[in-house]
Each structure stands twice: as C-alpha cells, then as structure tokens.
C-alpha cells in the first residue's frame, strides 16, 4: 500500500489522499472513516522507522525554516510547553459526489452547500518549543550533519518562494522536484552552522538578563541571536494520549503554512455586522491564529515518538562510530571521567567523586511527597567572578557538564535577575497561554546555580517567590505552576549544582562539599572521543536497573544503626543521602546491585567530607 517512498517525503498529502480514497471506497457511511486514520500512521511509521530513514527527514531548526518546502514531510524535536484547547474542523466533505478530506491540513476552504455533508472532527494543539538547554552534541546526534548531502533523493526541496506557492490541496502535487541548486544547499549548511554556533554561545552566556521572548514562550531562551523557532503541532487521532507537559517529543508530519489565517485573523469590528463583536470576543480562543506562521510553523503530526534515554542510547553510537558498544572497561572510563571532573573543579578528587554521583542522579521513585534518588550538590569555597561575571568555576563546570549531559543550563543568581525573572511558569488568562518560566524544563535538565553572583540587597516579591520556587525544587523536585486561582504542582527532575562561597543557607542541597584545591598534575585534555564515551557511559548508567540483594540489606541496616548509635546527630537526611549515594555509586560502576565494597566507598567519602566540613 501507499505510493513510492519519495511520495512520503515530498508529498505526504498525496500519500494521505491515496489512503483516504481507498478508505472512502470501502466505507458505507462517513462514520466508517471518521475515527480512523486510514492506515496513514502505519504507512509512515513502517516507512520511516522500518527503513531507518527517520533521521533523514529534514528537521525544523536544523534546516533554515524558509528553505523547507511547504506541505513536505518534516520533523520537529521539542518540549511540549503548552497544551492548547481542542480544535474543531471539518475533516471531510463531499463535493460532486466525492469525499474530500482536510485532515493534515492547517485550514482549507470548504464549499458550502446542502450536499457537502461536512464531517466535524477534532484535533489537539500542542505548543512545542525547542528543547530548552539542549546541548550541541545532542542536536548533532539527532540530525547528523552528513545526512543531508549524502541522501540527495530526500534532501529538502527548496521552495521557490515560500509565501507565493499555492496552498490548496492540489498545490502539494505541483511540488515535483524543483532543481535544488548546489549553492543553496551550501547556504543552508552555513546558516545551520551559524545557528549552532550562536546557540552554543548563548547557552554559555549569562542568563542574567531576564528578558524572555515571552511571546514565543521559550523557557531558557536568553538574549542572543537564537534563531530556533517553536512549533505548533496539531495532533490527530489521540496520538498525544500519553504525552505530558514538558515531555520531549519528536514529531513527524506535514509542514503547513497558511499566512492568510494568521494575517487576517478575525474580522475586526465591522459596523454592518453585529456578529463581529460576538466573534471578536472569541478571538482569545485563537491563540493559534494569533501566532504568526512565519515565527511559529505549523506541523500536522502524522506520527511521533517520545525522546527518552533509550532513544539517546540507541542514537549516540551512530554519531561516533569509534565508541565501542557495549562499553568495555567501565572502571577505566569512570576513572578518566573522574580525572576530567577533578581538573575542572580545581583538582579536588573528593569533590570530583561527588560530582560524578551528582551527574548520575535522577529521581527514581516518589514516595508520598518525597523524591528519592535526587542528589543536589553544593560546592562551597568557590570564588566569585570579577565584576558580576559568573564565577570562573561555574563557567568551566557548566561547560563541561554541557558536553556530558544532554541538557544543562547555567543560572547565575544575581539579585537583579531574581527580582525580574519569572522562574515558575504562570498562566496568563488574558492570552490564554501558559507563560513559561526558567524552571519549565524537561526531565533531566541539569541546572548550575551560581550563588556567588548574589550580592546583598533587597528582594522584591518576585524575588522571594523565585527563591521559594528554587527551594521547593531542591526539596521536593517539584515546580509550582501558578494558575492564578490555584497552584498546580508539576513533578520535575532537575539535578541542581550550587556553587557558593560558604554553605548556601537559602538553597538547601542534599550534599555539601567544601572545595579544597590540591595541586594535581593536569591530565591530558580530553578529546571528542573521550566525551563521546563518557556521554554514552553516563546515559547508560542512568538508565540502569538497580536492585538490592537481601544479603547486603542487613549489612547496610546494621551499619546505619551502628553509625547512629555512635553519633546521635546523624538523622534521616544523612541516611537518605548515604543510600542515594550508594545506589549511584553502584550505578557508576554499572553494577546492577549494591556490593558491600561500594557501600564502604560511600561511607569513606562521607567520612572525608564530614571531616572537611568540620575543619571549615
């Protein structure tokens, strides 16, 4: 079934129509094809994933938007930032005795008349933003640089002039191979590189200025020439059933562009028409209409996949063929990573151990309100940066983390930014949108908070709220979304590294380690291959299943009891930390179960750390 493969790429609408016509012929009444997708999803999925060409589909944000032909198959990888209301549309109508469908089209003209038998269907609208804080290497993993040139057959066809193309259903068919000139391709490539380099610089840049492009609602979109665009995804047939807010999803679908609707919007006050006022009262419903199509492309989703750690594990090796799978000599890799971390934080090997565990930490269970598995780290004894610049340590640490973890962000806490920034998302009822905040981040986004940037001064109400949000996040790994009339708690999983001069009193971290720089011989600077290995190692370790053998259970228990008998100041918090660290320690050796040895290592680390805390 279906047409030749090239159809799916260039003319997905054509492929859809073929299937629809087939379904119509088989159907006895409109009801028969109302609640089905006529095999569209199946066709595209078997084509994309079966042949493993899904990464060859041109991706919005890695290819310049205006070079993507309208009505072609594209993909978009992003975080679900907001969920709009359901949109109702006439999905099928009859004209001249034949059924036509407008599914997978943004908007279409429907003839009026008695015999059109319009069928009303609905679709969900998801507002997705480019994954906030996503690091460069992940972008490359999902859109390989060489993919474009190598497969000429499916490279994006450069549209003649985006806005002047016919947009009706027939328009799609006109799009047979336009000659793609070589220099245009080069142009594209350069543009992409530009975009990527600017992205790198922005992620390193100070996010201090709390200026957000709120209209586009990108959580960490700091100042700078970030050219990434969000995307309005229209999802059909309940494909979004298990998609939650802040999930990272890759959508495959038809890129549509209908400037008519967004430009005109609704009729403005029209004297002759009493309805005008009535309709204008509904304008607020039409967020989708108000978002300019040139800035927010529309994607009619045919199929989608959630991006999880597994996706990353399966994708990573393709990027660096030099990395062997499965990873050999875990201990060696672990040690080399430790060396690297030690160098970054000024040659402190104890802190490096903590850093490693911290990088591996993630919330694995929630019991009552408690989030288990988190290990936020507070490194004390960091020097502040000169003249409001972020601490040099924060910069170097966050740069390294950016190369190791898929998503990360450096947030210098200055009074100014705390007082101005919106950290927790809030609902704007006037615009009927969820206004994003810095903490609306996908699971596993690493945050580096630079407390050394904080000077003495007065916090206003926003600042207090922001600080409370951060504290709440640290304690419970939850972010409160402000819905004005009530608050909604959204679970989050954001490992937080706090850098401060002395122990942070405002931001309670799980583990506090005073930095002690010891001069150690600098090891060789790691190359790309090292990083590739470490990434895979970290991702796989995080994804590991971990259990406890009953034999060790007793040892741990006895040890805890003995420790408490010895030192009454040890409370449940300490034990939580030990147990979390024990788990992470085992995971760092890629061991599926806890060994007594690892437990001893954790106790030793904690002992040395407590020793230091006493000295300080």
């Amino acid at each position: 079934m279906g047409g030749p493969p090239v159809d799916c790429f260039r003319n997905p609408a054509g492929a859809v129509r073929v299937l629809f016509d087939k379904a119509c012929r088989a159907a006895t009444s409109p009801a028969d094809f109302t609640r089905s997708d006529w095999g569209v999803k199946e066709l595209f999925e078997s084509y994309l994933f079966g042949r493993n060409v899904h990464c060859k589909v041109p991706e919005i944000n890695s290819v310049q938007l205006d070079s993507l032909p309208v009505n072609s198959l594209v993909r978009f990888r992003g975080m679900v930032q907001d969920m709009f209301d359901v949109e109702y549309y006439i999905g099928a109508y009859k004209e001249g005795g034949d059924w036509h469908t407008t599914k997978y089209m943004d908007v279409a003209d429907v003839p009026t008349g008695q015999d059109t038998e319009p069928q009303m269907w609905d679709r969900r609208l998801l507002y997705c933003v480019p994954v906030p804080g996503e690091n460069e290497w992940v972008k490359e993993a999902f859109s390989p640089t060489d993919g474009l040139g190598a497969t000429a057959a499916i490279r994006p066809l450069v549209a003649v002039q985006g806005e002047k193309r016919p947009r009706d259903a027939e328009g799609a068919e006109d799009m047979d191979a336009t000659m793609a000139c070589a220099d245009e391709l080069i142009d594209n490539k350069r543009m992409r590189e530009d975009a990527s380099s600017s992205a790198t610089s922005t992620s390193q840049e100070v996010a201090a200025a709390a200026v957000h492009t709120l209209d586009l609602n990108m959580p960490l979109n700091a100042v700078g020439g970030n050219k990434l665009v969000p995307c309005l995804v229209k999802v059909y047939d309940g494909l979004d059933a298990d998609i939650k807010l802040n999930d990272i999803v890759e959508f495959f679908g038809v890129l549509t562009f209908d400037p008519e609707l967004s430009a005109v919007g609704f009729p403005q006050a029209n004297g002759a028409n009493i309805d005008a006022e009535f309709e204008s009262a509904f304008i607020e419903d039409h967020v989708s209409v108000l978002l300019p199509a040139s800035k927010v492309p529309r994607l009619q989703c045919i199929t989608l996949r959630k991006i999880s750690q597994q996706t990353l594990i399966s994708t990573l090796p393709t990027l660096h063929p030099g990395v062997p799978v499965p990873l050999p000599a875990i201990e060696q890799i672990r040690q080399s990573l430790l060396d690297c971390l030690r160098n970054v934080i000024g040659g402190d090997s104890l802190a490096a151990e903590y850093m490693l565990l911290h990088l591996l930490s993630q919330v694995h269970t929630r019991v009552d309100s408690m989030a288990l598995g988190k290990l936020s780290l507070n490194l004390t004894g960091c020097n502040p940066g000169v003249q409001g610049a972020p601490s040099p340590l924060a910069v170097s640490a966050s740069n390294t983390i950016a190369k190791l973890l898929p998503r990360s962000h450096l947030m210098p806490l200055s009074l100014h930014s705390l007082n101005l920034a919106s950290i927790a998302p809030r609902k704007d009822y006037a615009a009927n949108r969820l206004m994003t905040g810095m903490l609306q981040l996908a699971e596993g986004t690493h945050l580096t908070l630079d407390e050394t940037a904080l000077e003495a001064g007065t916090l206003n109400a926003t600042g207090i709220q922001n600080l409370a949000s951060l504290k709440h996040l640290l304690e419970w790994q939850k972010v409160e979304y402000d819905f004005q009339f009530y608050k909604m708690e959204m679970p989050a999983d954001l490992p937080v590294l706090i850098l401060s001069q002395a122990k942070s009193r405002m931001l309670p971290a799980d583990a506090v380690v005073p930095l002690m720089s010891t001069a150690t011989p600098a090891c060789s600077t790691p190359d790309e291959l090292d990083f590739a290995k470490w990434r895979l190692y970290l991702t796989m370790a995080r994804d590991m299943e971990h259990t406890l053998q009953p034999s060790i259970l007793k040892t741990v228990e006895d040890d805890l009891v003995a420790a408490r008998q010895e030192d009454r100041t040890l409370g449940p918090e300490t034990f939580h930390r030990w147990l979390t660290m024990a788990r992470l320690m085992a995971v760092s050796y890629m061991e599926p179960t806890l060994l007594p040895e690892r437990w001893r290592m954790v106790r030793d680390l904690e002992f040395r750390c407590a020793e230091r805390l006493r000295c300080c």
Binding site: P111, Q114, Q119, F266, D275, F278, L459, L548, L560
Partner: protein, 811 residues
C-alpha cells in the same frame, strides 16, 4: 449518531436559504407563540425571549426546527408541505405533537411524591406568573424520572425541544392566568451526567451538556440588538420594529408611508431599539479534573440576560447548555468557509457551586493560594460531592479511635513522639477564639515549642505541620525579622553565608508560623514575638507612624539546646537560653530528647532502606492520607466551635488546682508554684481542640482529662525540677527553680552568719577564695565560687558588706 451541524451564525446567507427549504412546517403552537406576541410594539419581553439561543433568534424564530442532521442516513423523514398536524424534527423520527404532548403530560402530572396535591411544575409556573418571572428551572432528573424518553430527546435535540418546552410552559401559564403574556423560558438543569470538559468531542455538538469548571474570565456585557427602530428623517414616520435576522438588520431603503416615500431617509434610533445582554465567559477545568502532567482545558460560554454577571472570575460553576460550533470566518464577506471551527456552550442554566456554606464564618479565612487548603475546596464544586465529602469526614469523626488515628496520620514517617504529635494535632485544630462583650478577646491559637537534640526529626515535624497548616510559613530563626514585608538578602560578614530576612509573622496571619532554630533568632526579632504570642498583633513603628498589624498566628518553634546536646543536669532555661518571659507564652513545651535506642534506630534504618530499594515493607499502619487529614482539619476549624460543658469546666479547674497543689510536699512549708493562670488558659484551649478532633460541639470530660494529661506530660518534661523531681513552673517563669532559690537563700543566710562570725566590724578585708574555703568547711553541700559571688553580691546589695575586687569588707 454523527451530526455535524451547521450553526446558523456561521453560515453564509445562500447556504441558509438552501437549508431552509428542507425544513418542517411549524406547529400551530409555535406559530402562535412565535408570531402572535412578536407583533407587539413594546418589544422588551419578546426580545429577551429570543436572545437565548442565537440559532433560534437568527432564523427569525419562525421555525425552531432548522437544525439539520444530515449525517443520518435512513431516518430523514420530513414533511415538505405545510398545514398537516404531523410534523417531525428534521432528520429524525421525532414527532413534534408527540413531544408536545409528552411535555404537557410531564408538566401536568409530575409530582415529587404521589401524595402531593398539585403537580410540581404547575405550582412553579403559578409562582412564576404571580411574580412575573420569565424563567422556569426544570430539574432534568425529574424529567428522567417521569419520562426517560423525553429526557433523552431534550438532551439530544435541545435546539428543537427546548422551544417546545417554552411553549408548553406558556400554555400552562395561560391556563392559570388567561391574560398572561410574558414568555417563560424553560431552563433544564441537573443533567444525569456532567461531561468532563476535556471529553467534549464533535459528537456532543448541538447536544445539551453539563460542564463544571471555574470561571477565569468574563467579557464586558455586550448589548445585542434584538429589534431595530427606524424613523424617517423626512416625515418622522416610523415603521414597525424590525427583527434582527441572522445577526443582521435589513435597513429599509425607502419610507413606507406612501405620501413620503423618501429614499434612504430612515435612521436608526438607538434609544428605541431593544437590546439584550450577552456575556462571553471562559470556563476552565477545576484542578481535580486535570490528569497529571497536562494543562487545564478551557471552554467559552455564552451567557444571556439574567445569567449575565452571575459568575465572577474564580467562581466555580456548573452550566447546562448547548454545545455549539461556529465557523471561523476569514473575511467578513467571504462566501467560502474555512474548515476551522470554534466551539462554545450556549448556556441555558448556570449554577454556582455554593461556596458560602463551606466558608461560613471561616475563622481561618482560607487562603486561596495555599495549595494545602485548596485540595479540599477545589476537589469538587458540586454540592453532592461536597456533601459526600463532608459525610465521609463526619463518618471518620465517629470512629472510636479517631484521636489515635489522627495522631498516627500526622507525620507517619516519624515514630514514637506520640505525645508530641498529639500536642501538634491540638495546635492544628486550635481552640476557639473568645470575644467578650467588653471587647477583650482570648486567643484560640496555641503555641508549641520543641526543644531537643539534633537529629530527632524536630525539623521534619515542623515541615509536616507546615504542609498541613493553613498559611503555614516556614522560617529559620536565623536571619528572620519579625516584620518587614519584603525580604532582605544579607551576607554574614564572617562566614560569607547569604541569608534571607523575611517577614514571616505577618505573612502567617491566621496560620501557623513554624520557626526552626528558634534559639538562633536575634533578640530583636524575638522581642517582637512577645506581642505576637499573646496579643496576636505586631506593632511597627516607622517614620512616626505606629502601625499595628494583625498576626493571629500560632507559633510552632523548635530550638536546639544551647550546647549542641541537651544537658539533663541543667534546667530548660539553661539548656535553651531563651528569656523566661517568652517561654511562658508557649502552651506546650516538649523536650524531644534522643534516647539512644537501638530498636528505634533499626526501624529507621529499615524504613529508609526499604524506601530506597523498594523492598516490600511491613504492612503500613492504618492512617489517613494527607488530603483527607487536611480536609478534616479544615472542616473542623471552620465548622466546629466547641464550648465547655460545666462538668468539663469543673474537671479543668480541679486539674489546675491539683497541679498548683502538687508542689506542696506533705508536711513541708516550702511552697512551689506549680501552674499559672496561663496554664489554665492553655488547658481550655487544648480541651477545645480535643473536642474539635471529635467534631463535638461540646467539650466533654474526657477532653478535659486528656488536656490535663497532655499539659502534665509536656510540663513534666519541660518543667521537671531536676533537683526535686516535681513540676515547677517557676523554672519556666523565672528561670530558677524554687528549690534552687531555697538553696540560694540558705547560702546567703549561712554566709551572713559566717561573715558575722569571722569578720567583726572594722576588721581587715578578707579574700573571696578564703571565704569559699571557710564556707566549704562549714557547709555540707558543695559551694561553687559562682554561687558564693552571687551570695556576696546580694549581701553587698543589702549594704552588709562591700566588695572591691577580691576583697570583702564588713560595713
């Protein structure tokens, strides 16, 4: 069935014309009603009538049966020709006269109970006619009870059937009062099932639905023209009021008066047109209906006439109305339609969730923002659900072991500390505020202090209370300033720690202020607490203005002993180093002492390991979950205001007297003050809280007994005089125990005699160490240098001796 129905408003004129051809004729009844009354010049009532459903209004009201259901093959039986008595709703096999008859039967025959003399709705119509009302609420559950078939017709074809309901109501009204002219709008409500907003789908279009939600936005009131009044500018002739058809007024181009016949001379006279009110409201899902990880859905509502402005943003309402879709038109005059539609609900009935009952005389003035409290109120907006919830709470309150159950439910992850938890529970429930006619008031809030060793989960208890408590504020004593509405970030110059100074007390008005590290609070801030804890106000003196802010807060504080661990040999005062004046303001002072207990440690260890490794744990003890507990406390605080029964009052007095008497050793003249009136007040508050726990309006004897016990337990721990073993309130009120004071007095007496013996008047001065040695020789108990110096200073105060450095001289 599928019924993608075109809303009239969304259609272009041409399509509307074509559609009208395939419509049924009108019944005589609706003709009478639609046509006859519409003739009247005074159009206020008629205009209102038509405003409800735009689709009906727009079609000129000549026929209500214009709703097409083209998607149903096989059933379209319709009657093309006019004057037959048999007519059908277009596209269905619903016979109009049948339905009319069914409605009439329902109105005439439905009785709430068979014994009722008159039919319920006839009575209601009669009332309506007497009051000149124009609405009649029809409980849909009654319809269902009487005629399920009619009910389903109303729900499935509201646009056709509701007008028939109106007509039938009017007919009944006319029977009662023949000259009755006003239209009666039938408003069905209380559908059997209300749809979840996110479950609305295209098949609900043009059906009657009932949706619950919260109003988030209201538009301003939109006047909608219903009838237009024109006047000829040439001859002042006015034609009849012109109906608005499909949202348009056909402006007459020529004066109809034959002798004038001026062209384009007619002007619209606004003052004489009739308008109806309309409002667009946005409704959002209530938080409990939102699945985890999703954002709330919204839906637009169209409200008309009396419903306008009935709901304000933030209100929880339940609306019944017709779900409609409206085409998105790109240009005002474009003939083609876009495939996009917008949906809204045309309301016929609106019901506000009764908040007042839940908030009646709320002593805590529930804070909307507080998520802790929200869980109860936001849980369900419907009365029934609330009732059910309250019933459930009441049921829980009847459990014989409710007190123990609640104690267990409070911080279930912390073991032991039973009595402390009981005390905290009392604090959460609180006593009742007493206002005397003289204006004096007694606080109902209780203050609790926990003093104890580090690592005894004091902080967790605090955190837990903070979580449950209304307007809980959690603050650390370190760096807290009592007032100050903004916070200040300060850097400790020595440690370089950054600290936040916040104004916790004011923020926690009518809540519980949890203060961790109370001992580390600055004296300045602490002195502010004196006023807060007894008068429940905070006075701020700034720029010549003295402001008194309310801070009706309970204080829950926890402190570490002055040394890092509690020293049992010292008194509480010495251990916590808090001014006694402040200490006496705490109703309950608990010592959380960590007694090394391997059993406990092992339980803790096992629990934590199980948490982290999902090892199957021993069956949990029965406990209430957090939302239920919160709801329970909220309800009790709002609705239960116990008063002391006379027996309980007697018991409390007896308990108090006994406590005071306890210090009297038999046969001893030494009088030890055991309790102060403050403790009696505390006892009353505690017993009231205990009654509240049982949802009892009366404080019973058992409450009094438990209150006495709790206070004793707390006092025994906090005020045990380690020298004598008795309860000693003096320890708290002055910082020195009575026996200690006796000892000091004795020492002074002994010293005086010693000096009298050794130092005759005019003799050379003696060194203090010398005196100490002499005292030690003479005394049986050990005398410290400090004690001696204290005694000497009081003697010098009397003018008995003079002290110069180490030299003591008799005067």
């Amino acid at each position: 069935m599928t019924s993608p129905i075109f809303h009239r408003r969304g259609e272009t004129p041409s399509s509307a014309e074509t559609r009208r051809n395939g419509r049924v004729n009108t019944t005589p009844a609706s003709a009478t009603r639609g046509g006859g009354r519409r003739e009247r010049e005074n159009g206020t009532t008629t205009a209102r009538r038509r405003s409800r459903s735009p689709s009906i209004a727009n079609s000129g009201y000549s026929s209500p049966y214009d709703m097409a259901t083209p998607g149903t093959p096989g059933t379209p039986i319709f009657n093309q020709d006019g004057p037959t008595t048999l007519s059908y709703v277009w596209g269905t096999n619903i016979n109009v006269p049948d339905v009319t008859n069914a409605i009439a039967r329902f109105l005439q025959n439905y009785r709430t109970s068979p014994e009722d003399m008159e039919a319920k709705y006839i009575q209601l119509i009669e009332q309506a006619t007497e009051r000149e009302e124009d609405t009649l609420n029809i409980d849909a559950s009654n319809v269902y009870e009487h005629d399920p078939d009619l009910y389903s017709k109303i729900v499935r074809y509201p646009l056709d059937i509701i007008p028939l309901l109106d007509v039938a109501c009017l007919e009944e009204a006319v029977k009662i009062k023949p000259d009755y002219e006003k239209a009666i709008e039938a408003r069905p409500f209380n559908l059997r099932e209300s749809v979840n907003m996110r479950d609305l789908n295209p098949s609900d279009i043009d059906k009657l639905v009932s949706v619950k939600g919260m109003v988030i936005r209201c538009s301003s009131i939109i006047p909608e023209i219903k009838e237009a009044f024109f006047r000829c500018l040439v001859c002042n002739h006015s034609p009849k009021m012109l109906q608005v058809i499909k949202g348009r007024v056909e402006e007459p181009t020529r004066c109809e008066k034959p002798e004038c016949a001026a062209r384009n001379s007619l002007a619209l006279i606004h003052n004489r047109c009739t308008f109806a009110n309309k409002q667009i409201v946005r409704l959002q899902e209530t938080p409990d209906a939102i699945p985890e990880g999703e954002t709330p859905h919204t839906v637009s509502l169209c409200l008309y006439n009396t419903m306008v402005d009935a709901a304000k943003p933030g209100d929880r309402i339940e609306v019944t109305g017709v779900f409609k879709a409206m085409a998105v038109r790109v240009g005002p005059n474009q003939r083609t339609l876009k495939s996009l539609y917008k949906t809204y609900i045309d309301c016929v009935h609106l019901k506000k969730a009764e908040k007042s009952r839940m908030q009646a005389e709320d002593p805590l003035e529930r804070n909307r923002e507080s998520d802790n409290y929200a869980s109860f109120h936001e849980g369900d907006s419907s009365d029934a659900a609330n009732e059910a919830k309250i019933a459930k709470l009441k049921e829980i309150s009847k459990l014989p072991h409710i007190y123990e159950l609640l104690t267990r439910s409070l911080a279930p992850s912390i073991w032991e500390l039973e009595d402390i938890k009981k005390g905290l529970l009392c604090q959460l429930f609180g006593g009742s505020v007493k206002k005397l006619s003289s204006g004096a008031s007694f606080r109902g809030d209780m203050n609790v202090l926990l003093v104890g060793d580090p690592g005894t989960s004091k902080s967790q208890l605090l955190q837990y209370v903070h979580k449950i408590a209304p307007r809980g504020i959690y603050t650390s004593g370190r760096g807290s300033s009592a007032v100050g509405l903004t916070a200040y970030v300060a850097k400790d110059p020595e440690t370089r720690e950054t600290v936040l100074e916040s104004g916790a007390l004011v923020l926690s008005d009518r809540g519980i202020c949890c203060i961790d590290e109370f001992d580390k609070m600055s004296d300045n801030a602490r002195s502010m607490l004196h006023e807060v804890m007894e008068q429940q106000t905070v006075s701020v003196a700034k720029a010549g203005i003295i402001a008194t802010l309310n801070a009706r807060t309970s204080v829950l504080a926890c402190a570490n002993p002055s040394g890092s661990r509690y020293n049992p040999r010292l008194s509480v005062i010495d251990n916590i180093q808090l001014p006694p004046t402040l200490l006496s303001r705490f109703d309950l002072i608990y010592l959380v002492l960590d007694k090394p207990d391997e059993q406990n440690d092992r339980r803790l260890a096992r629990h934590l390991v199980a948490l982290h490794y999902e090892v199957p744990e021993a069956p949990k003890q029965e406990a209430l979950d957090l939302p239920t507990l919160t709801a329970y406390i909220t309800y009790a605080r709002q609705h239960v205001h116990p008063t002391l029964s006379s027996e309980a009052a007697d018991d409390l007095v007896n308990g108090y007297v006994t406590m005071r008497r306890k210090g009297n050793f038999p046969g001893s003249s030494k009088k030890v003050i055991t309790a102060t009136p403050r403790q009696l007040e505390s006892m009353i508050r505690i017993s009231e809280a205990l009654a509240r726990i049982r949802f009892s309006e009366v404080v019973e004897r058992c409450d009094a007994a438990e209150a006495v016990r709790l206070l004793e337990v707390a006092l025994q721990q906090s005020a045990t005089d380690h020298a004598t073993g008795t309860i000693d309130m003096d320890l708290i009120t002055t910082g020195v125990s009575a026996s200690e004071r006796t000892r000091r007095t004795n020492l002074i007496v002994a010293l005086r005699t010693l000096i009298a013996e050794k130092l005759p008047l005019g003799s050379p001065p003696v060194k203090v160490p010398q005196l100490l040695e002499d005292m030690r020789k003479q005394s049986t108990v050990d005398v410290s240098l400090q004690d001696l110096r204290n005694a000497l200073s009081s003697l010098s105060g009397e003018g008995y001796v003079s002290i110069h450095g180490d030299n003591v001289q008799r005067l």
